[in-house]
Amino acid sequence: MDIVTVVVSGLLTGGLYATVGLGLALVFGVMRLVNLAHGDLIVLGAYASTLVMAWLGVDPFLSLLLVVPAMALVAYPVQRYLLTGLLRRGLEPPLVATFGISLVISAAITQLFSGNARSLDAPYASAGVNVLGVQLRLIDVIGLGIGVALTVLTALVMNRTRWGAALRASAADPVTAGTMGINVNVVYAITFAASAAIAAVGGVLIGVAYSFTPTSGTSYILIGFTVVVLGGTGSPLGTLLGGLALGLVQSVGGALLGGQYRDFVVYAVFIVVLALKPVADRIVENRRSRLRQPVVALRAEGASS
């Protein structure tokens, strides 16, 4: 494989990774909830799509018209009546609850669909396409397109709508947002529902591009967290960049070390990034305080004169 192919295919996979990370980043950014069930929501979306496809005989992406609202409807009460109450009790209870939900989802899928690997059939699943002289899979290009589209959509909703303003207010200070007439509990629940909807899109994308089993969620949750840690939770754009960076690193790592180490590269990158994160945060913090210093000094001078 030449270097261009490695880079381009890495970036394309990155689009999928951004989709996986986006839902996690949303939930974590708004309510500091670590959703250990996000990977299982992704897999659930893929299995729900197999049901709709078998029932109506439609295209996987068309099945999203039913799967996305269904996932959002299921997710809304989980946040509203279970997780929001637990968030007030500290970090661990909601973490444990999502852990339990993850267990329930993957076990239920195993029970209903057996543990065999499946994939979503689509005529374009293995079709090739030529971009800039590089032979690529069409589905990977679609994946990048979806990742970018979801990022832009989320950014627009967050920054340009009243609802987005309510969401940002709830994230910044839930108590004050509550006194301003924002129903924070509903905002939280809608955020979680939106995150599940994004997970469903990611699930269908994964289902068409690769295969999935009831336990695939575990590896995707880790990919998602790697993206979140790389890209931060501040903005959807950061998540997209995090996804692209991870895709690139994985592709280059796989090309250098051999295909069987592709997953290992992700985990290793993740641990290294996590280990370096406190250092990086400190550097950023130092630079910020250094930037602030002259202002403070000027004010002090002004006060003394």
């Binding site: 637990l86 339990g100 939900i101 329930v104 239920a108 029970q111 790697t226 996590l274 994160k277």
Partner: protein, 329 residues
Amino acid sequence: MRTLLAASSAGSRYRSLIALAIAVVVLFAAQGAFGRYQTSVLTTLLLYVCLVSAWNLIGGVAGQFSLASSAVVGLGSYTVVMALRAAALPLAVVLGLAVVGGALFSAILGAILFRLRGFYFTIGTLAAALATMTWMTTWDVTGATTGISAPIQLIPDGATLYRWALGAAAVAMAASILVIHSPLGLRLRSVRDGEDIADSLGISPFTMKMAAIVLSGALTALGGGLFALQKASVEPFSAFSLNWSITIIVMAIVGGLGTTWGPVVGVVVIYYGLTVQLQSLPSLSALLSGLVLVLVIRFLPGGIVGACRDLARWTWGRLRRPRPAARTA
């Protein structure tokens, strides 16, 4: 404050140790009465008690929600099987190797991951667990995906294994009791409940967490090594399966985090109450244990043991204090 001091009192420690000693003697003496199947179920149960008590030290007492147990269980399993293949050493030496290996591995893990706090630590341990599993599926030395099996003549029989499992569970429980009712346990809980405050009082959170993870890792590897002997062969997908971490955590939380007897209750409820009863339906028992976990964290934050303690305290309070109506009469 009073409850903390009470928890660290010597009386409570001796009562727990005596109860443990009685339980061990009874289980040892009753061995002859068990059939093959019961012995095997009890062996598994005791090994789970060892693993869950070990996790309780790091996850419950020190409050570090680690998902890396599966890596340490796998490490213990592989150490025991590889050591038995390399040389026909006595079982005690082989298990000792696993304990040392588990402690060393946990120390390395802790040195890297305790730079992180809260959920970053949790996710870091998840990455470590998955990374070691992926690594083991590609490493030729340990037979990659096919794994390795121990020489059949060196595998102890069911009765011997039962005694080893009883010993391992007893050691883990005794360690838990000694730690929980000691100044070390008090310091660990202070790190769990307020890391910065503990730090400002001169308790090093890093040293405390390292002590907890090393002790926990040593006991986890011991349990993992004995589990490998029960199965006689190891392969990466089951020895390093994340299911170990999941099962252990579910048991610990359902029983009662940070309590001495919570692990035992959790193991009995989840393993004996669900896994054994629904042996032919593993995914249904996984589903139910997930549901139980969600219900426990929602309605019984202290687990079963915590709820019983609250109930006992409440009834005790009612009994000691006469009702207002009775007082006025």
